[in-house]
């Protein structure tokens, strides 16, 4: 399999702040076609392409558009999720900083597909320095007639506004993002009503991840068949992977869906750094399972990863070498979730901290075998009852580690200690 440049086609080749430059490189062709199509025709192309959400859940993109299109309302919204809060994930940052016009174009096409005239880009608080790039790109699109009133001489008008987050992971959850854009505390809403019926400001809304939106314009331009020529049957197209951790060549790569995880690590990213052994891989972001070195010979494709109990998620691959301790990694992972729980529902608010406490107890040699049972029980409660995806999936890493690295936990409990930790559980 070869590295491909579909989403990354313009990186470092055009001036990202200049819509004209983007157009010269083949940009806005998708939008041009969309402007002459009906809403249903646009949605049909996306349906045929098989495009699925790149933010985590892998929901078919056309279905979101269908819901919002079939809801009658004079005001509808397109929201671009640029909150990119997954630890170690920076694929959206590349798209936002290197090719923002492609995102704006994708949003305008989606706006046309549902009859929305306003789009919001909700950008991660830490990306403050990208604000000027985005504003410049938006302005340039307007100046060149690709955004604003009567786009490219058509009767379709669409505007894009930028909103900044303030550093809350939960605001990557779509309804919490709506709350945040509306100026409220970032907490998720329950569903139904679904965003396609009642979303941002109570209006029908389609929210998609930056990467998903970046796919829209090329699909409209080159067609569904072209798109399906890449990737797998269930997950067509390419995927951006943020490769982080103990590999030789870290970075953001674009590959067709279905690339083998083992090949990705060893063949394309140069294997484990400093000639060390592989301990574990967490593929799919902070809430993905930790798998061991015998479990990495798998295709990275939405359905396959899901069927093996994981989640391709945002495509972040954290490679962990054998100088690390898995209990320590899990403790660190749970620290993240306890800090990022919004506190709205009981299981997540209390449970994330309790899981962290229990793992800390084990990590520092004070644990008992009964603590493992407590972790499993609490994990089940949270997965079954938490309000939103954050609390429901925060338990996945620890549960997977208990299954795939049971020995390491027991080593800490027996005070037999894993070779890489001192007696207080600190990694040496």
């Amino acid at each position: 399999m070869e590295e491909m440049k579909v989403l990354l086609r313009n990186v470092d080749k055009i001036n990202p702040k200049d819509a004209y430059d983007y157009a010269k490189a083949g940009g806005f062709e998708g939008l041009k076609k969309a402007l002459s199509m009906s809403r249903e025709e646009i949605i049909k192309v996306l349906e045929d392409s098989g495009l699925r959400g790149r933010g985590g859940a892998g929901f078919p993109t056309y279905r979101k558009l269908q819901f919002a299109n079939s809801t009658e309302n004079d005001t509808k919204y397109i929201v671009c999720n640029a909150d990119e809060g997954e630890p170690g994930t920076n694929k959206d940052r590349i798209l936002l900083s290197k090719d923002p016009c492609a995102i704006i174009e994708g949003m305008a096409i989606m706006g046309k597909a549902i009859g929305a005239h306003t789009g919001f880009i909700y950008m991660r608080g830490e990306y403050t320095y990208l604000r000027e790039v985005l504003y410049a790109a938006i302005d340039s699109c307007k100046e060149n007639g690709y955004l604003g009133e009567n786009i490219m001489g058509s009767d379709f008008s669409f505007d894009v506004k930028l909103r900044m987050g303030a550093g809350a992971y939960v605001c990557g959850e779509e309804t919490a993002m709506f709350e945040s854009i509306e100026g409220k505390r970032g907490e998720p809403r329950y569903r139904p009503p679904f965003p396609g019926i009642k979303g941002l400001f109570g209006k029908p809304t389609v929210l998609n991840n930056v990467e998903t939106i970046a796919n829209v314009a090329p699909i409209l331009d080159k067609g569904a068949d072209w798109y399906r020529s890449m990737g797998t049957e269930g997950s067509p197209g390419t995927k951006l992977f943020s490769i982080i951790g103990n590999v030789n060549k870290r970075g953001v790569y674009e590959f067709p869906m279905g690339i083998n995880l083992k090949e990705l690590i060893y063949d394309y990213c140069g294997g484990i750094a400093d000639g060390r052994g592989l301990l574990a891989v967490q593929a799919g972001g902070a809430s993905a399972p930790f798998i061991n070195k015998d479990q990495i010979d798998i295709p990275l494709e939405i359905d396959y990863v899901a069927s093996s109990g994981g989640r391709l998620g945002c495509g972040t691959i954290m490679v962990i070498d054998d100088t690390n301790c898995i209990v320590d990694m899990i403790q660190n992972n749970l620290y993240f979730f306890k800090e990022e729980s919004c506190g709205k529902c009981t299981p997540c608010r209390e449970g994330t901290t309790r899981l962290y406490e229990l793992v800390t107890k084990i990590s520092s040699g004070r644990g008992k075998m009964s603590d493992l049972a407590k972790i499993r029980g609490l994990g089940e409660t949270m997965a079954n009852t938490a309000f939103c995806g954050l609390g429901r999936s925060a338990t996945v890493p620890v549960e997977s580690a208990l299954q795939n690295f049971a020995d390491d936990f027991e080593k800490h409990i027996d005070k037999d200690f894993c070779p890489v930790c001192d007696r207080e559980g600190r990694v040496l």
């Binding site: 809350a168 505390r185 329950y190 139904p192 306890k338 800090e339 990022e340 729980s341 919004c342 506190g343 709205k344 529902c345 009981t346 299981p347 997540c348 608010r349 209390e350 449970g351 994330t352 901290t353 309790r354 406490e357 407590k374 029980g377 609490l378 089940e380 409660t381 997965a383 079954n384 009852t385 938490a386 309000f387 429901r392």
Partner: protein, 574 residues
């Protein structure tokens, strides 16, 4: 209609019903904590989760719509295990001091835990939230260690009352519901309405307890004088476990005598007095080009609200004191003289449906008698607890009459307890004073009921008087904005801070609209039974004017029965 199966039982519910609603139809009780019948669905406590065939995980029954063919299990092993775990997570943060908690016995957390067959408090290490108990307010005590973060108080304070004194701070495990910037309640625009107390499911927000002050005064040998507000007789039996709307006027007088009060007077009397003063003030303003619309001033939460948010329009407020604060000085002057008691030896205790009355009695200017006009204010909840503490079998008490010289209140005074009551009472008197005729019918229907803002017109022999009635401060906001914009062409406006009026007040047993409706029916039924139904026909009021006050708006009235207001705008900060 939607047909579904709850625990093996077929039920049909309306479209839009939740699983929780459907379970009620099936007579299945699903435990809830954040859910409140008068509020929006929150779905945050997760105690009400149920298992639905074909769906992953568990579903919150309060927020999951019932669907055709759904098969629901409300108490499967999976559900029970999850609920118990959630309860243990809550209990590991909750102070286990139920025996010393004001909400002991009325706490929803206690009740839910009690129904869950708990065998130990928690498998998790106890870690009670670090928060100081805020006793700064004379009306409300906040103990955020006991908070379960249901969010009901926030909804009431923000959405119903439109004040937003408190909100969530921090996140995750450290989330806490607090006034902004670490302020104490007393330093916020809190109007002391106590509606947050009404909806708090635990002991996290409670009424400032002043019962010991009463016992202390008794021990000091004070002459104990109690006065009972109109809605107290409607609400106290309910607080003692009887049905909502059970009227217990005579029994309450008996109980108070047993507790140790020497005299028990009826605040309906000063409600009548308020009508005499306020009605005449309205007529004076109408005749002499005074500031209109005139707005009632009986409600201390509304007054503080106006002083904070409406301080550049305070001349709209009637200068009349509330019935409580009219009674205070009369007890320590008129009554003291008549009964030949040194006012310094009197302890006056006002029994109220209201938490804001505690604040009102402590206002600096409330010393027209030369003494603190009211020494103690007790709410319905507190007096109910005192009755229990005294071991009184309230349900089986004989009736006792009120004491003289304020022996009787009119029906007009009684209906002060419900929204629109002050307006109706005032119109009965004003109509007759102006036209010389009885208002017919006496029942002024446009003022009754729970519509947020009620409007009406009355023809006073050719002069059309336009009136409006607002209850709940969210509705008061609307009226205020109309006045600010110059769009309120009313002559007279009644405002009550609590939704439903005093029968829905913050000092009562926990409210629901269903209960408040029962109380409303009771107050109007009771008023029909009373011998006198117009304030100006109350013989004791006439006597009080003849013997002591002179005439409405007269010099003595001015000294004892009228007041002034101050700006509290600085409570809003910069």
């Amino acid at each position: 209609m939607i047909n579904l199966t709850i625990d093996g039982q077929q039920v049909s519910v309306d479209n839009g019903a939740s699983i929780l609603d459907a379970a009620k139809v099936a007579n299945v009780t699903i435990p809830t904590l954040c859910n409140h019948p008068d509020q929006t669905v929150k779905a945050v406590c997760r105690i009400c989760v149920v298992e639905v065939d074909g769906r992953p995980g568990l579903q919150a029954s309060c927020s999951t719509p019932a669907e055709e063919g759904m098969v629901v299990h409300t108490a499967s092993p999976k559900v029970i295990r999850a609920r118990k775990d959630i309860m243990e997570l809550i209990m590991a943060r909750h102070p286990m001091d139920c025996l010393g908690c004001q909400s002991n016995g009325s706490c929803e957390l206690q009740a839910v835990a009690g129904g869950m067959n708990m065998t130990k408090p928690s498998k998790y290490d106890m870690d009670i939230r670090k928060a100081k108990v805020d006793k700064s307010s004379p009306s409300i005590v906040r103990d955020m260690r006991k908070c379960i973060l249901c969010g009901r108080c926030i909804e009431t304070c923000s959405e119903v009352q439109g004040i937003t004194v408190m909100a969530k701070e921090n996140r995750g495990y450290d989330t806490m519901i607090v006034p902004p910037y670490g302020k104490s309640l007393v330093d916020t625009p809190c109007v002391n309405c106590g509606q947050c107390v009404q909806v708090c499911p635990t002991g996290a927000i409670t009424i400032h307890d002043d019962t010991m002050e009463v016992y202390n005064a008794m021990e000091e040998g004070k002459v104990m004088v109690a006065t009972i507000a109109p809605s107290v007789r409607i609400n106290v039996a309910e607080a003692l476990g009887e049905d909502p709307g059970t009227v217990s006027t005579g029994r309450l007088v008996t109980a108070l005598k047993k507790i140790g009060f020497d005299r028990v007077f009826d605040t309906d009397f000063t409600a009548d007095l308020t009508i005499m003063e306020e009605g005449n003030e309205l007529l004076y303003r109408l005749k002499n080009g005074g500031t209109l619309p005139m707005i009632t001033s009986c409600c201390p939460a509304w007054i503080k609200f106006a002083e904070t948010f409406f301080d550049d329009h305070l001349d709209h407020l009637s200068t009349c004191k509330s019935p409580q604060q009219m009674f205070g000085p009369l007890i320590k002057t008129y009554f003291a003289e008549k009964a030949k008691i040194n006012p310094a030896d009197i302890c006056s205790v006002s029994i109220m449906p209201c938490t804001a009355k505690k604040f009102e009695a402590k206002r600096e200017e409330m010393n027209a008698s030369g003494y603190r006009d009211y020494d103690v204010v007790l709410t319905v909840q507190e007096i109910a607890r005192m009755i229990k503490t005294a071991g009184i079998d309230f349900a089986n008490l004989e009736d006792t009459e009120f004491d003289n010289p304020f022996g009787l209140g009119s029906g007009a005074g009684l209906i002060f307890g419900a929204t629109g009551g002050v307006m109706e009472a005032a119109l009965r008197t004003v109509y007759e004073v102006v036209t010389g005729k009885d208002m017919a019918p006496l029942e002024f229907e446009p003022a009754r009921g729970f519509e947020g803002i009620k409007e009406a017109q009355v023809d006073l022999d050719g002069t059309i008087v336009k009136v409006a009635i607002a209850h709940g401060l969210g509705n008061a906001w609307k009226i205020i904005n109309m006045i600010k914009e110059g769009k309120a062409d009313y002559h007279f406006i009644e405002v009550m801070a609590c939704p439903g009026g005093c029968i829905g007040g913050g000092g009562n047993a926990p409210r629901t609209w269903e209960k408040v409706e029962e109380r409303r029916k009771a107050i109007y039924e009771e008023e029909k039974r009373l011998p006198v139904r117009k304030s100006h026909e109350n013989p004791w009021v006439k006597q009080c004017y003849e013997e002591f006050l002179g005439e409405p708006l007269g010099e003595m009235s001015h000294k004892l029965l009228h007041t002034h207001y101050i700006s509290r705008h600085d409570l809003l900060g910069s």
